[in-house]
């Protein structure tokens, strides 16, 4: 304030008024709306199905024309057949090659760059899937995933290159990539299922969509971060744009592209397992089967097989990413190795070896069921009350508040208000209109139900993750010990988390919430620990020189400085919760997730479209809101010293 400003009293008053005005607006608006609309308890039902029936009609049209209309005969059907051919081609080949050759070949990739520990891990992990009788499923999953990743590379690489070379193109592309990554992969199944029918293809395409953004992004990044001098050197020798690209920029971007691919592969694995729900074959089906039969042991067996695949892929990619030419074996060693593998494959076929011999099968793990049953029965005193209190004290009151007590316009208004405060008019408008749209779809109560579950699970996950993360972040040794466990847990596909949750909490909302808490906790812990650890030691020492106690340092320096990172973790926790809450529709979680399962089981296209739109809207709102919150915590440079 300059000297010319009015007397202090008025300034104080005016700024006070300005500060409280938005809040007053919220209260008054909410009250007014509540009074006006309190008659209707939920979104007026008379507006329902304005959308559903035309879309259902369109769906019927799709179904009856799938084999005749040119859009299908000339485009979707050939596309579908092509993708299917790639998938079955790869998995049939993997099944045709004798199992020991597959294992040897997989182990040879890390061995080629002298990563022998990784080679052994790969061999053991693959052998496990065979021993447990899931060899065929494993190869099918590998086939589906390789096809999806292959397509992601074929499509993503040129897009990434184009985006790197043409900034204008990147500006157009980026929002699409953002949306592709925000929306839970499960949601993609709905429209894809309508277009491609049941089988491997919708699963592969959903995986592809989900896996595309990291490929594109890291290709762009890799090309952008090639030192400009290298590019200029190439130009100075009169290289054409294409020569510079293929001889300098792309080769130098390879490490970054490989990082993108390894992210892609891990994401893809989770989606491929889920793809069982749209009829894909592979490791998802034993998981689903054991889930349906409540056979924990078998579930664990299949879950471990998925983790084994994750491990195999991770090691193989890491060794592919090893660019140090010195570590590589000379070329003739490689050729001899390849020769041995080829001869082994042929000889193996001659003696009739192919799929893994039946050693055991997954009934090996059945005894686990007894243990689990015993534990479950003896933990009833804990799980029952826990489950009951979550439902009666948290879930039901929250849901009833939002769907019964408060009139729907109040919810829309408050939601939009919060978005306005956090981000601005754009998000507020988006939130309000998409909530109304969801209401018009007749999905009001289901969406609120899902939202409540997501928020509840996120809150619980954060309540656990934040303290653990803060604790671990201050103790490097603990974090180091925890790291591999968390890494491992992050590769476990979401579907697997449901199994223990169902065992201990039977069916309904609670197992879904519990699985979600478990699943979403992991990134929460990791990112919090990271944020806490990365606070500059200088700041900490400065605080200590002023005689601050460890507690004061933690609360006054560490946590505030780590807040933006932690908030990014909150964003991840919430987004993962959303993905998981939808999946828990499989075990009766209710909400939009259950609706999704219904759609997939009964082919209700209209509903499927609406549910997909509602989920996309929810995902976008939650993501943008928490992202804005994280931005707000970012210290402002201009106010800094």
């Amino acid at each position: 304030m300059t000297a010319a400003s009015p007397p202090v009293g008025t300034v104080g008053l005016r700024s006070e008024v300005r500060r409280w005005l938005p809040l007053a607006g919220l209260v008054v608006g909410a009250l007014a709306l509540q009074l006006l609309f309190s008659g209707d308890d939920a979104f007026p039902a008379r507006w329902d199905s304005t959308f559903e029936s035309p879309i259902d009609d369109a769906g019927d049209w799709l179904r009856s024309n799938r084999s005749t209309h040119p859009v299908f005969t000339a485009f979707f059907s050939p596309l579908s057949r092509g993708i299917d051919a790639i998938i079955t081609g790869i998995s049939d080949f993997l099944l045709w090659v004798p199992w020991f050759v597959v294992i040897a070949a997989a182990a040879a990739i890390p061995a080629r760059v002298r990563m022998y520990r990784a080679a052994i891990t790969v061999a053991v992990a693959l052998a496990y899937t065979g021993v447990i009788g899931l060899w065929t499923e494993t190869m099918q999953t590998l086939g589906l995933m390789s096809a999806a990743v292959l397509l992601a590379v074929v499509i993503g690489l040129p897009l990434g290159i184009l985006a790197a070379l043409k900034p204008g193109f990147e500006t157009i592309l980026r929002p699409f990539l953002d949306i592709m990554q925000t929306v839970p992969a499960f949601v993609y199944f709905l429209p894809l299922f309508m277009l491609f029918g049941i089988g491997n293809v919708p699963g592969a395409v959903a995986t592809l969509i989900y896996a595309l953004p990291p490929v594109v992004r890291l290709t762009t990044l890799g090309i952008r971060t090639v030192p400009p001098q290298a590019v200029e050197a190439s130009q100075m020798y009169g290289a054409r744009r294409r020569q510079t690209l293929t001889k300098v920029q792309l080769p130098m971007a390879i490490p970054s592209i490989i990082t993108g691919l390894s992210q892609t592969i891990m994401l893809a694995l989770g989606v491929v397992v889920l793809a069982t729900l749209v009829g894909a074959s592979g490791l998802g089906s034993p998981v689903l089967q054991s889930l349906n039969q409540r056979r924990t042991g078998r579930g664990i067996a299949a879950g471990l097989a998925i983790m084994a695949v994750a491990m195999v892929l991770d090691r193989i990619w890491r060794s592919a990413a090893e660019r140090d030419p010195l570590k590589r074996h000379p070329r003739n060693v490689t050729l001899v190795g390849l020769g041995i593998l080829a001869v082994g494959a042929l000889l193996g076929r001659v003696v009739g070896a192919g799929s893994f011999p039946e050693v055991f099968d997954w009934t090996l793990f059945d005894p686990v069921d007894d243990v689990v049953t015993w534990i479950r029965d003896n933990l009833r005193w804990l799980t029952r009350p826990l489950s009951d209190s979550i439902v009666t004290w948290l879930y039901l009151p929250a849901r009833d508040l939002l769907t019964d007590t408060l009139a729907w316009p109040v919810v829309v208004f408050v939601g939009a208000w919060a978005c306005w405060r956090m981000k601005g008019w754009g998000l507020a408008l988006f939130t309000a209109s998409s909530l109304v749209l969801v209401g018009l779809f007749g999905l009001w109560e289901l969406s609120i139900d899902t939202l409540v579950q997501v928020l509840l699970a996120s809150a619980m996950a954060l309540a656990l993750a934040l303290p653990i993360g803060i604790w671990a972040g201050r103790r490097p040794r603990i974090e180091a010990a925890l790291g591999p466990i968390l890494d491992g847990l992050q590769t476990v596909p979401s579907l697997v988390y449901i199994i223990p949750a169902v065992i201990f909490f039977t069916v309904g909302v609670v197992p879904g919430i519990m699985a979600t808490v478990l699943y979403a906790m992991v990134p929460g812990v990791r990112i919090t620990a990271l944020g806490i650890r990365e606070v500059a030691t200088e700041s900490l020492e400065a605080s200590r020189t002023f005689g601050a106690t460890p507690r004061q340092t933690l609360l006054g320096v560490r946590i505030p400085l780590a807040a933006p990172t932690i908030m990014a973790g909150v964003n991840q926790v919430i987004m993962m919760s959303l993905a998981m809450v939808i999946i828990s529709g499989l075990v009766g979680g209710g909400g939009l997730g259950f609706e999704t399962v219904v759609v997939l089981k009964r082919s209700r296209f209209g509903l499927g479209f609406e549910v997909a739109v509602a989920l996309v809207a929810l995902a976008m709102i939650l993501d943008r809101f928490t992202e804005a919150a994280a931005d707000r915590l970012q210290p402002h440079r201009d106010t800094g010293l």
Partner: protein
């Protein structure tokens, strides 16, 4: 006799480079005498190079010396057309580089230009020999032939036996030798060096400078060499341009800069230079055509005259390249140099 224009290999006329969107306005302001800072405040544009003209003779080593931010890299990038100058033109063998389209420029680069970079700009994913042969590969020369040429050049710069190593396995000095080899393999007419030795240790830097001098002795290329080290400039440059805030303060031979600095800025650099090592008999002689009993070439450094002057009192004759006597040096002249050195 050859005219000056024939001997000029590279010429720049009124080069401007302004960074920012209002570059025209910035050029105008700057022309009217506004300083770099004033232009930046008024338009948000940085004046990198301000109306620089220069002509480099064939076979000459032209050094541009200036402190960090003075615009040296920007200038050399304009000369090589790695960026387009805001105004002005660059002529190479009489052809206007700045007016060329992509294809013509590419052709000229393949045939005539090369550049050595401060941070080497090597390709880490290629072996030493593939780095060195890059320019030829771009010209689509067959592998065997380009490797043969590249290994010859690698041997010349002392990298025999390292052909199949990767740049990451080499020391900084060796990496820059690869950079040098890569530039020489294409047999260029003009070599641009942008602070090639700045990232190296002093001892290795000296080795590289010596090696460059040796090479230049046999190759006789036209070189534009950027440095921020005045000693390096003196050692390598036939002529030196002192650059400050985007303009040339002075252009001349080392002796000219030392004996008659145009500005205080130039003087500051020359002050610490050991003059007797730089100035030659030609620089300090009195013009006179009668010869004495003893004679030295005009290019002999003053330092090398000291023992001769101690031997006897009489002036020493100075002869030009054709052996004609052009002047004399006596104790008095040398004492004056020594006295002004402090």
């Amino acid at each position: 006799m050859e005219s000056a224009a024939d001997k000029t290999c590279l010429e720049a006329r009124g080069i401007w480079k302004v960074f920012g969107s209002k570059s025209d306005q910035a050029v105008e302001l700057s022309r009217d005498g506004a300083s770099r800072k004033e232009v930046l405040e008024a338009t948000g544009c940085t004046v990198g190079v301000k109306d620089v003209s220069m002509a480099v003779t064939r076979g000459e080593t032209f050094v541009v010396m200036g402190l960090s931010g003075s615009g040296k890299s920007t200038l050399v990038r304009c000369l090589a057309r790695l960026t387009d100058p805001t105004a002005g033109s660059v002529f190479l063998d009489g052809e206007d580089l700045t007016a060329m389209d992509e294809a013509a420029l590419r052709q000229v680069r393949r045939q005539k230009l090369s550049m050595v970079f401060q941070h080497f700009g090597l390709f880490p994913h290629r072996t030493v020999i593939d780095n060195a042969a890059y320019g030829l590969e771009i010209q689509k020369m067959a592998k065997a032939e380009r490797h043969e040429r590249a290994s010859a050049v690698l041997a010349e710069v002392g990298l025999e036996g390292y052909e199949h190593h990767y740049p990451g396995q080499l020391s900084g000095g060796m990496q820059q030798r690869v950079g040098l080899a890569r530039a020489l393999t294409v047999d260029p007419e003009i070599l641009f060096f942008d602070e090639p030795f700045s990232a190296l240790d002093p001892l290795i830097r000296r080795d590289m400078q010596d090696q460059l001098l040796d090479l230049q002795h046999t190759l006789q290329r036209t070189i534009v060499f950027i440095t921020h080290d005045f000693a390096e400039a003196i050692k390598l440059g036939d002529r030196i341009a002192i650059m400050k805030d985007g303009v040339f303060d002075q252009v001349g031979t080392a002796s000219q800069l030392i004996t008659s600095p145009a500005t205080d800025y130039v003087r500051e650099f020359t002050e610490d230079v050991p003059k007797i090592k730089v100035l030659t008999a030609g620089d300090v002689m009195q013009t006179q055509t009668t010869s004495g009993t003893r004679s030295v070439p005009a290019s002999a450094t003053v330092e090398s005259l000291l023992p001769l002057l101690l031997e006897g009192d009489d002036p020493i004759g100075v002869s030009d390249a054709d052996g004609r006597t052009v002047g004399v040096v006596d104790r008095n002249a040398v004492t004056q140099i020594l006295a002004s050195a402090r």
